[in-house]
Structures are given as C-alpha cells and as structure tokens.
C-alpha cells in the first residue's frame, strides 16, 4: 500500500542524494591542485612537472641528455646517455608509490627525479 506521500519522499531522498553527490563532485573538481614532481640537478630544482599530465621532457645532466616520461600519474626515465642505466632500471614510479618520494637517482648525471606528496 504505497501512498502518494511515499513517492514524494522517495523522490525527495533521490534528489537530496543527487544534490549531495553533485556537490561533492563539484568540490572535488575545484580541489584538484597540480601535483608537482621535481627534477633536481646539483641540489637545485631544474624544473617541475605535473604528474597528472601526460608528457615527455628532455634535459641535460653532467654526463649527457636524459628523457622523462609522465603517464597517468606515473613517471620514468628512458633513453639516458649513461653506461649504468640504473635509473632506467627503476622503471615506472606511481605518484602514490612509496618509491616516488625517494625518487629516481642518477649519480653520473647528478640528477634526482622525485615526487613528494604534500602533507
């Protein structure tokens, strides 16, 4: 035995839930700040990059050129002029990964690629 008022209440709850859901999505979309990773050369910041933007970067260290690739919140270095290739061997680091705050380190180039989430 559903009455008319019951239908109104159902609609009202749905509307309320919709409004809340929409509001939260809206707030979320305003709150997405840039999450910047850093490329450090000789203890100085060479440049910063947005870990959410898919892009590739090229930069020079002491030994030669390096390439940084950013994709879907992960980053890696590739095509590095260096015999060791240890930094390439680190592979992809995701921004939520604990290793992202330790970073990719290249000793011959004096380069550190790191993403530190803000507290």
């Amino acid at each position: 035995m559903m009455k008319k008022k019951d239908l109104f209440v159902i609609l009202a709850i749905c509307a309320l839930a919709g409004i809340l859901f929409g509001g939260m999505k809206l707030i979320e979309s305003f709150n997405t700040k840039e999450e910047l990773g850093k490329v450090i050369y000789n203890n100085q910041i060479l440049f910063t990059f947005d870990v959410n933007k898919n892009e590739t970067y090229e930069f020079k260290g002491d030994y030669g050129t390096m390439h940084l690739e950013v994709q879907d919140g992960s980053f890696r270095v590739y095509d590095v002029e260096c015999p060791n290739q240890i930094c390439v061997g680190m592979g992809w680091l995701h921004k939520d990964d604990i290793f992202a705050s330790i970073g990719i380190v290249c000793i011959p180039n004096q380069i550190i690629v790191v993403y530190e989430p803000e507290e």
């Binding site: 035995m1 008022k5 209440v9 709850i13 839930a17 809340l20």
Partner: protein, 169 residues
C-alpha cells in the same frame, strides 16, 4: 489504570526483547553490504511501537535495544556503542518529526528513519575519528535507505495489520 499500566509495560518489554533479538541476529548472521549498507531490521519494531503506542514508547524501545543489545554482545561503551547510539538517536528524532510534524505514512517514516540512522552513524564516525572523508559515503547511504526502508516499512505494515486485527492493546 494499574492494569493498563502493567499491560503497557509487558508489551514494551516484549517489543524491546524482539528488537534486541533481531538486532543481534542481524549483526551476527547478515554481513554488511559494501559501504556498510545494512537492512536495519530492528527498525521494524520501532515502527510497530510508534504506531501502536506512541513516540515516548518508541524512544524507550530504541534505547533499550541499543543499550541492552550492546550489553549482551559485550560491546557496551566501546566505539561501536557510541556510533549505534548516535544513529538510533537521530533515527528516533527523524521518526518523531515525520510522525508528529509531517504526519507521513508508515513507509515514508521507515525510509526517513533508515536515512537518519545511517546519517547519524556517519556523523559520529566523522566526529570520533576525525574522518571528514566519510562524507563521501552519505549519498550512497541515502540511496540505499530507499530499498531497506521500503523492506522494513512493508514488513511493519503487514505486521501491524495482523496485530491490530487480532490483538487488543
């Protein structure tokens, strides 16, 4: 007068016992769905009480359910006790408002009190654990209050029809 009082006491005790039993059985044998969605079957008893006796009696039955139910499970004055207490208080408040102020039918009352129950619990969790992120769950809980509220509402409606026909209160 004295006889009526005893009669009322006995019915309230019976209803409280049923609410406690349903509460314990549900929390033991029916696992929670994702987002902590549960049926809240004990709400059936609250609805029956509010329809048969009134607001004050419903409050008594609900409080008995939380306090004695948690006492029997050995969880009294733990964190879950406060969470369920705040849920029940908000749900009772919503039930009183929708009964006295808005004069809604029983299905609406059921849905709204289910909504109040989950909202109260989420608010208490936010307060106790400083987790404002729990807000994100509220829309899902609001939507889930519709089917679970309808389930308890229809059950209470059927039970009330039989009770009013066969039992003299």
């Amino acid at each position: 007068m004295g006889r009526n009082k005893t009669r009322r006491l006995v019915y309230l005790t019976l209803l409280s016992a049923m609410a406690i039993t349903i509460n314990i059985l549900e929390s033991t044998y029916i696992p929670a769905l994702p987002y902590g969605i549960r049926f809240g079957l004990a709400n059936i008893i609250a609805l029956i009480t509010v329809e048969l006796f009134g607001v004050k009696e419903m409050l008594i039955v609900n409080m008995m359910r939380v306090v004695i139910g948690n006492l029997l499970r050995g969880l009294i004055f733990g964190s879950t006790f406060w969470i369920s207490l705040s849920g029940v208080l908000l749900s009772s408040l919503v039930l009183i408002l929708s009964k006295k102020l808005l004069k809604l039918p029983i299905l609406s009352m059921s849905m709204l009190s289910a909504l109040g129950h989950s909202t109260g619990q989420v608010m208490m969790v936010m307060l106790m654990y400083n987790q404002s992120g729990m807000m994100l769950v509220i829309p899902y809980l609001l939507i889930s209050a519709i089917p679970t509220g309808l389930l308890t509402g229809f059950t209470a409606q059927g039970a009330l029809r039989l009770l009013k026909k066969n039992v003299r209160f």
